[in-house]
Amino acid sequence: MMEKMLLNIGPSHPAMHGTIQIKVELDGERIIKADVEIGYLHRGFEKTAENRTYMQIIPYTDRLNYVSPLLNNLAYAMAVEKLLGIDVPPRAKWLRMIFGEISRITDHLTCIAPIGMELGAFTVFLYMIKAREFLWNVLDATTGARLTTSYIRIGGVKADVPENFEDLLRKALEETKKAVRDVHGLLSRNPIFLKRTKDVGVVSQDDALSYGFTGPVLRSTGYYYDVRKAFPYLYYDEVDFEVPLGERGDNYDRYMVRMKEIEQSIRIIEQSLSKMEKGPVKAEDEVAEAYEAIKASQEGKYLDGKLKLNPNLEGMEREVYYKIMARVPRYILPPKEDLYRSIEGMIRHFKLIMSGHGLRPPAGEVYVPVEGGNGELGFYIVSDGTDRPYRLHLRAPVFSIMSALAEMIKGHYIADVIPTFASINMIGGELDR
């Protein structure tokens, strides 16, 4: 019998992306006991949310699961909409689906990239991040931000898509497919990768259910549960997609399920693109953009009456606004044209934004889940009729999964901690909130 050794991994460790501390007791190289310490990224989201108005919370939701921010936006917006009892227009639903699935792809890409990197395959990291960059360009063009987009709002989405959206998106999807294909070639039959992941970190189906697993990690054990299929929301029942399943619930299956889900998400996006009605195409009128006007004035010229100074951001013009936002004046901000040009619009805006007024849902409580990047992501909101939630709680899928980590790595080698930890895609913002 060898002497036991206590080893501390983290909180600042190259493989502990995010901050987490694992204290392991070792017998030689085998782990006999593990203690997982979380909370290094506890940012007081729930307490802060109680002190913010309903609209102010949306940027906070971006920063929960920051690899798939739009799915968090979606869950929160759907929860508040349920509380208010409003329905969103069809175009907004399709857009929510497209952007939600883009977010899911970026989530899985960002999960697989570090698995490869930490097992010594840095090329995988570069390929996956390259594909993610193309997808982020699509988000950037539509939402104005790469990562923390706050695109999905209460009642709809922020803006309609730009004109070149479809080309951009199809190019990004092609790049993603290419990256996935390349990574399949690099990893899926790679003997080193197989040795490190097959039959490592195995979770049985019973354990998975008892630990409250959902999402890809549950499906890797072969259990068929997907919120999109079991409780369809948006238009998920109108598109055709499969739910990939694993068999043994080891690291390799978790990797494989995520890889296959990327392909399914691409299918959903392609179908949504064809089913969504074509966006309103704006008439090309003879107007000068602001920068042209500035250039002209520097040259001493004056553009008479040709200047287009729209107070709106692109995609939020009045003619498209109610296609992407529910027409419920009590709860939805008016388009910017109304705000700046009419007193009614100004009053509506004022009533929704000023503290003491604001969006006031009726008293009650809701729990609304969506299929997030890591599983069932649900917001539990208790409203007392004021403009701030009385209590807001996030059902974080990764919290339940992380509670099983200590048991998953028990009995394995110390080196197996790394692929096991990487394959459950721990996201600090969601875990610690």
């Binding site: 990224l41 940012r43 007081g44 802060t48 906070y60 690899v67 991040i129 790469r146 923390t148």
Partner: protein
Amino acid sequence: MKEGNFITTTLESLIGWARKYSIFQYPFVTACCGMEYMATAASHFDIDRFGAGLTRFTPRQADVLFVVGTISHKLAPVLRKVYEQMTEPKWVVAFGTCTITGGLYDNYAAVQGIDAIIPVDIYIPGCPPRPETVLDALMKLQEKIQREKQKWSLRK
């Protein structure tokens, strides 16, 4: 260079020049900003062009500490320990709004700016900052390193 030609410079600027193109960084990545940090490090933006591509995950081998993401009070002692373990000369980059002021998280859990824990050289605003901003900050850091006066001389 043809034979017989030569360059004159001060020792100080020579050392500054050598240091600024061999930044060994320690990424202290905690939160969302890490995503943009990854994007900056990967092939699209490629910080290797600035000689800063090599990350060292031990503070004893690093010159620049990148504090990426929110620092909570629970994590504060860890950050200070990492900083103290780094050898001189060392620089600190505060990456993202959370590290500058606490950002969105003005509450009990988050440290309201990491300069309450360790001294900071460069602040990168943004929530998260775009990679272009990071590259700009990196160049500003290089300028700062170049200007730095050395604390030692050859004659003791």
